[in-house]
Symmetry: C2
């Protein structure tokens, strides 16, 4: 397996982009990543996207985007695994370059959510859950996460207010990120006063949707001068699934797919959680940030909120998460999110994270969750010099 380096990153702001189409967003991120890599083109493109079929009436995004960015004739395909589509596309690009099938690749995650009617987007998002056994009951993703959070609070004795530290950290970091959807910050009082959506999930527990695209360029490490400054390699990659339906799990408070995928990534990297300097967790809901921290070995079962309350998830803490705003403040353009996480980890490892920089970060981890924990992909990146 050839070692693979990430040599270019690009992203659009997550926003309501009323003036930009899906292909324009994807193009903006791809062009930025190619420019950052100093390349005019690459041998392949892999597209992460979830909603374009049901929400945008446009599939076949591989050829669609390749043609738009002037890469007509280049290999290109779309990868979909609900909200983990971005990281699944990154893993596909990684395997393509590592196998030698292609010499270089750009991976782009893109999602265009804002200009579809709200009910259509909700229905499109529900295609990530089990149509026969969950959606048929009228349950939305917020409701599924609310069921999990309620059980967690009951089981481990937390109060709703204890989860506020996750959101405050995310929004505080989002203030430092010009690509984040929200840059206004958040106080503990603001969290407590937010309107309830699906008890116990309030508006400040939940991440916002948005339009956006993020991209990265990958090449084999041996094609580069290893003395090059700021060289970032992918040292661990793992992917695992769980039951689509939450009710089919023996333990709904444990992200088995996260544990399995992170173990694969740790083993490949030859490290453990203690070496990870920052962790872009999938905080689609505060409860998911907590469960991810536990499944990845950063907190004991049922104890993640304490880590947040103790300030250990901030850029100066033991395990910084949501360092550029996370899904909560940067925003969650679902199929693009996994690629935003990769881009943000690279920024941190390069020392380009400005106001929310984690000092001397060498290992950064990104974990992207599809469905309510049913498809989880983890990557570990390392700064070589």
């Amino acid at each position: 397996m050839r070692e693979v380096a990430v040599i270019g990153i690009g992203q659009t702001k997550v926003d309501e982009h009323w003036d930009k189409s899906l292909r324009e967003l994807a193009g903006e991120a791809v062009f930025a990543a190619l420019a950052d890599a100093g390349r005019e083109s690459v041998s392949a493109m892999y597209v992460g996207n979830m909603l374009s079929g049901p929400a945008n009436k446009q599939q076949h995004l591989g050829a669609f985007i390749a043609d738009w960015v002037g890469m007509r004739y280049t290999e290109s395909m779309r990868i979909e695994s609900a909200c983990s589509s971005g990281s699944a596309a990154f893993r596909t690009g990684l395997m393509a370059v590592a196998s030698g099938a292609v010499d270089s690749a750009v991976v782009v995650g893109v999602e265009k959510m804002i200009d579809s009617p709200g009910d259509e987007v909700t229905a499109a998002l529900a295609t990530a859950a089990d149509a026969d056994w969950e959606v048929d009951q009228g349950v939305s993703f917020v409701a599924l996460n609310a069921l999990i959070m309620r059980r967690y609070i009951l089981e481990y004795g937390w109060k709703h207010a204890d989860f506020g530290a996750f959101s405050v950290n995310a929004h505080t970091n989002g203030k430092q990120n010009p690509y984040a959807r929200f840059q206004e910050g958040l106080t503990v009082e603001g969290y407590a006063k937010a309107g309830m959506i699906a008890d116990p999930i309030n508006l400040m527990d939940a991440s916002p949707m948005g339009d956006g695209a993020a991209a990265a360029v990958m090449v084999p490490l041996d094609s580069l001068n290893k003395n090059r400054n700021g060289l970032i390699t992918v040292v661990g990659s793992g992917s695992a699934t769980d039951s689509l339906a939450v009710h089919s799990r023996t333990d709904p408070l444990w992200l088995t797919a996260a544990e399995k995928s992170v173990k694969m990534a740790y083993a490949q990297a030859g490290i453990g959680p203690e070496q990870i300097d920052l962790f872009e967790a999938h905080d689609a809901f505060t409860i998911m940030a907590a469960l991810s921290l536990e499944a990845c070995g950063f907190a004991e079962r049922g104890r993640a909120p304490q880590l947040a309350l103790d300030g250990e998830i901030t850029p100066k803490g033991r395990i910084p998460i949501a360092t550029r705003g996370g899904l909560k403040a940067r925003g969650h353009p679902v199929g693009a999110t996994g690629m935003y996480q990769i881009v943000e980890v690279v920024q941190q490892l390069r020392g380009e994270a400005h106001g929310s920089q984690v000092e001397n970060a060498q290992y950064g981890m990104a974990q992207n969750i599809g469905g309510s924990g049913s498809n989880i992909v983890t990557h570990i990146l390392k700064r070589l010099n």
Copy 2:
């Protein structure tokens, strides 16, 4: 790049499966492939599917199908590139095993088309074309192919009747395949009398939709005893795109993406068209079979109908195509089709193609087309002993 062998295949009949859901179809093919491979499980699953988002209201098929077949926790993702989704998934599985990221994989192509309303399926299929620049004009895929066929007839001086030999060959071979949707055969007269759909494409120029699933199990060649009988390896793989919109091509009568992908596959295999013993071409329409034969080097530009008229595309001819019925008679469950082609090539190389067996086949090629020639994936398989 590790060499990869295909050690198991499975498929369902292409049919109107009113009594089977998408997951049941996929499961049937996966279980058959695993049984054929003599394995209880594998390390990863890759799913090729086009329509589940817009037509079945169920995406996230990776976790969805993995869980259903008892592979909960196993890596799984969906690959979509319109009608070439099946072969794009196969290429993803190939890269995954070749890279060493996984030790074994099952790839399944699945499509459930019949029980969605016809207008919804037509709209869902149209997501493969350019929503802004083609679909907006009200043009369907049949119409796009009719424009190409009409131009081909005008340019090269053929008559409509000259294309009948493609359909007659496909239906004659389909009679020998219990998994084919149509097993009634077809005569030249039957072709000529078929109702017109979009002039010059009549009902017998066009492939039928259907429900179906086909799967294959892949492992590294070096994990097998090389003296094992009937060992099949993947010796060439290529993938290329073209403009999504037909009107953007400088030459709509030449499948540039087919030419580019087949050249990659030939180069990797170290062979040329003269070594190919059979070719599962993407005969969604008779005109596409003709264009594929030309782009892959089996006929001069504008001359493929002569090959068919001369009987050279039958199992006893120079370059047999649609040997198990092709898209025309086996049926075209869009996202599954690429995997049916792989399964059929393996059947031929193993000598299990019964009434339509190509004698002493050593090299078999499969080529799967997404959109109107905008995403084309080619694989060459070889019988080692």
